[in-house]
């Protein structure tokens, strides 16, 4: 075979047979994920070396048969026909071979060599299954290997078998069909042939007991226990990932902060009178990246747990248990995974949730899922809710948080129902006919690989986009900047502060060392750095070490900053504190004015004409606009806008409480707006890849926006008109939602049925 072109090997198999495990075992970490043209089906491929030959391994989507009813099947069929791979690596579950063998007989009809991998040998053995491999090879006329793809030690054996199979001829199909034979008859004949083959090659030990899986399900899917267990599992996921994960970020955050510090020290230094724009930009970008990286521990835990649920087979049982509920709202049992990831309870992320929706076979339910998942509680919205709730609802914190998190699920379900009854009506629907695989113990490596792959995808797709948006936002906030006259005024006042500093040093022995603005700036920097380092120090010994270090860097500066006994130094220190504080105040004024004059500020003011009816002023508008890039920036932006002018040490909560003057009702409007607010940029990117059309993506962006605005304005105006308390307005709206949810759940009762009859 020519060695200049990579060999192509297509991996074919049904879902849940260990196909991805085999793919990972063979390919290692280097994988490429793309989309097949025109459809939202993942095209996963990887390269690896086989002897001296380069091999491209293509992971075809998991399918049960090679017909043309689903996009996954059409994609696989087209690939095998048009790309003509050098080998079909067909994997089936040895513990449940009948369905898999059905696909094998189809795979043998492409005039391409086939290697059959009987996976999960351990499970099959546990069930008392024994294969006569030679007989199976003889009957099929292809190579067969029995193995555990989960074990890395099996890799060499599989590779050897592949090399052997590459040399073999294309097999003769098991069955011959005449043209125009009815597909149902073909299927039956194929099935019979598979049964017959298995009868002669598979020996089942009659002593093997009813499987463990059945016994577990007797409890897990017990009529009355099933739902409590399911709730407990969901609660455990949240507790472990969101709560414990958040605690974990307390340990990871210092490293990120250190990273930022190191990065910032590379940026152009501050001048006495101004901060260079590149420094501002660098800090802005660093903050944007850090805000996202901070969530990594949570995502890693969340994705690992979800991988465990999927691998173990419990996810399929969740879908089974909840299908009835989801179906009432136009969704599907398989929507469970997306809803769990999206944040049914406390906080999730729409990005992985939307990516997970591709497993939903029912097209209409899949679209309804994709379009409503962004309503669910995004993890990054949580800081905002905490902020507003702790400012405006000090007494009823827990109740309001509960209302918020359940409210979003209700809205998502209501919208799913409305959409599937209206706009999505014409989409194909496929009933719930779903394989329920036996339980299966996940491996640590498998779980970590799956979790890491998702995290990596998140990093690549999201970080790049969020960075791009951060650049745009920076420009929108920085420009056009303050007017020339104002800038001159600012320059004059910093000059004044400098002159006051110089005057204070008159006759001081340190005067000679601080006779230029540059030297003064160096002293300011020294003092600020020292203070910053000192904040992290808790022990006397560490403080002594720090002092020693700084005394060496600049003995003179150190004396000024630290030496209380030297009267002259103490005098300089007082003057230094004054100039530092004057500088800070000034910079904050410049920043405030810059934001107010910026393009974003102009937009925020322009929007006031609409948003005033919801009680939002331009500052809130700006915060919402900037939170579009990443939700966490809302709190950051608001924090920046409300920083106390005299002292930066106040938390944003305080600033908003004392200066904002927002009524509690406006707070409710803000909460509702944020809860329903359209998906962030990162979500939109994923929406586009999943919906495959810009028109739908635009719709997915605009309809929540209009809904959020309408709800915020409605609640604020009606609440004001009726003189409702904030709590009254929130609970009133909640009650209306609850009624709507129940009404839609029961009406029309069997709309799937009605639709079918209408056709």
């Amino acid at each position: 075979m020519a060695s200049n072109r990579p060999l192509k090997i297509a991996l074919l198999g049904q879902p849940n047979c260990g196909k991805s495990t085999l793919f990972n075992t063979l390919s290692g970490a280097k994988q490429h994920i793309a989309n097949y043209p025109g459809v939202t089906v993942d095209k996963k491929s990887a390269y690896f070396r086989l002897g001296d030959q380069e091999v491209e391994l293509i992971d075809l989507p998991g399918i049960y048969s090679l017909s043309t009813f689903s996009p996954e099947e059409r994609v696989s069929l087209a690939y095998l026909r048009e790309e003509k791979p050098d080998l079909i690596l067909n994997i089936i579950d040895a513990s449940n071979p009948l369905k898999g063998l059905y696909l094998t007989t189809q795979a043998m009809e492409f005039k391409i060599p086939v290697l059959l991998v009987l996976n999960m040998a351990d499970v099959a053995k546990g069930r008392g299954y024994r294969y006569d491999l030679e007989a199976l090879e003889a009957q099929l006329g292809i190579g067969v290997i029995l193995c555990n793809a989960r074990q890395k030690s099996e890799k060499k054996r599989i590779l050897d078998a592949i090399q052997e199979a590459l040399k073999s001829d294309a097999p003769t199909p098991i069955l011959q069909f005449s043209e125009g034979e009815e597909s149902k008859n073909i299927a039956i004949a194929r099935y019979e042939a598979c049964e017959k083959i298995l009868e002669s090659v598979l020996i089942k030990d009659p002593r093997a007991k009813g499987s463990l899986s059945d016994r577990i399900d007797k409890i897990v899917l017990h009529r009355y226990l099933a739902l409590p267990i399911l709730l407990a599992v969901i609660y455990a996921i949240y507790d472990l990932s969101i709560v414990r994960g958040y605690e974990l970020t307390n340990y990871t955050w210092p490293y990120l902060a250190w990273l930022k510090q190191e990065f910032v020290s590379l940026l152009p230094p501050e001048h006495l009178g101004a901060i260079p724009i590149w420094r501002d930009f660098g800090v802005w970008m660093a903050n944007s990246v850090l805000a996202l990286l901070n969530y990594l521990p949570i995502f890693m835990i969340l994705f690992s747990l979800i991988a465990i649920l999927e691998d173990s087979g419990y996810m399929a049982r969740m879908a089974f248990a909840l299908d009835r509920l989801f179906r009432s709202y136009g969704l599907h049992g398989q929507s469970t995974l997306s809803y769990v990831m999206g944040g049914v309870v406390v906080g999730g992320c729409a990005v992985p949730a939307i990516m997970a929706s591709r497993g939903i076979g029912d097209v209409r339910a899949r679209w309804a899922t994709i379009l409503t998942v962004p309503f669910l509680n995004c993890l990054a919205k949580t800081p905002f809710f905490v902020l507003v709730v702790s400012v405006l609802f000090v007494e009823e914190k827990a109740l309001v948080m509960f209302v918020i998190s359940t409210l979003t699920v209700m809205v998502a379900l209501i919208m799913a129902k409305i959409l599937s009854l209206t706009l999505l009506r014409s989409k194909e629907t496929l009933p719930f006919v779903m394989e329920l695989p036996p339980y299966h113990l996940p491996t640590l490596r498998g779980v970590l690989t799956a979790a890491w792959q998702k995290v990596w995808l998140y990093l690549k797709k999201v970080v790049t986009v969020v960075l791009a948006v951060a650049v745009v936002l920076f420009v929108l906030i920085q420009f056009p900047g303050v007017s020339k006259e104002r800038q001159e005024e600012f320059d004059r006042s910093i000059q004044g502060a400098y002159e006051r500093f110089v005057d204070a040093l008159e006759g001081n022995s340190y005067q000679a060392a601080l006779n230029t603005p540059q030297r003064v700036m160096a002293l300011i920097e020294f003092s600020e750095n020292y203070k910053q380092k000192r904040m992290g120090i808790t022990t006397q010994e560490a403080l002594a070490r720090l002092d020693e270090k700084y005394a060496q860097i600049e003995p003179l500066f150190f004396k000024i900053v630290r030496d209380r006994s030297d009267k002259e130094a103490a005098k300089v220190e007082r003057a230094l504190r004054q100039i530092i504080s004057a500088r800070k105040t000034l910079f904050r004024e410049v920043k405030d004015e810059k934001i107010a004059n910026s393009y974003l500020g102009i937009a925020g003011r322009a929007l006031e004409s609409v948003t005033q009816y919801a009680g939002f002023d331009w500052k809130i508008n700006i915060a919402f606009l900037s939170s579009f890039a990443a939700r966490e920036s809302f709190v950051a932006t608001l924090g920046a806008l409300f920083e106390e002018v005299s002292d930066g040490g106040v938390r944003p909560e305080e600033g908003i409480r004392t200066q904002g003057g927002y009524s509690a009702l406006a707070g409710v409007a803000m909460i509702l707006f944020m809860a329903l607010t359209p998906p962030c940029i990162a979500t939109i990117v994923v929406l586009k890849t999943q919906l495959g059309s810009w028109r739908w993506t635009l719709f997915a962006l605009l309809y929540p926006l209009l809904l959020a605005l309408a709800v915020a304005i409605g609640v604020y105006s009606i609440g004001n008109a009726l003189e409702l308390s904030a709590m009254g307005a929130l609970l009133g709206f909640y009650g209306i939602l609850l009624a709507l949810l129940l009404a839609l759940g029961f009406f029309p009762r069997n709309f799937h049925q009605t639709l079918k009859e209408n056709k």
Partner: protein
């Protein structure tokens, strides 16, 4: 042999599939899942909200909504008696 739909089959009782009254994509899906005429079938349990059903066929376990289970006809009892 009494013919009934899969929804009427008592849980835990084996029966024989006599007919699958579906076509197109649904038929293909049902065949993929192993609902072949002449093969054994058993309803193991129902979901806690009473729907869907957990069904066992030769090629494995399948969850199926009642609305689709109505399309599958079974000959009840005949397999159970030996």
């Amino acid at each position: 042999m009494i013919i009934m739909t899969l929804t009427e089959l008592p849980h835990g009782q084996e029966a024989m599939i006599s007919e699958v009254r579906a076509e197109g994509a649904l038929l293909a899906k049902l065949l993929d899942m192993g609902f072949f005429p002449g093969r054994k079938i058993e309803v193991i349990r129902q979901a806690p909200l009473l729907d869907p059903l957990w069904v066992r066929v030769a090629s494995g376990d399948v969850g199926i909504r009642r609305s689709e289970a109505m399309l599958i006809e079974v000959g009840g009892g005949s397999c159970g008696l030996e």
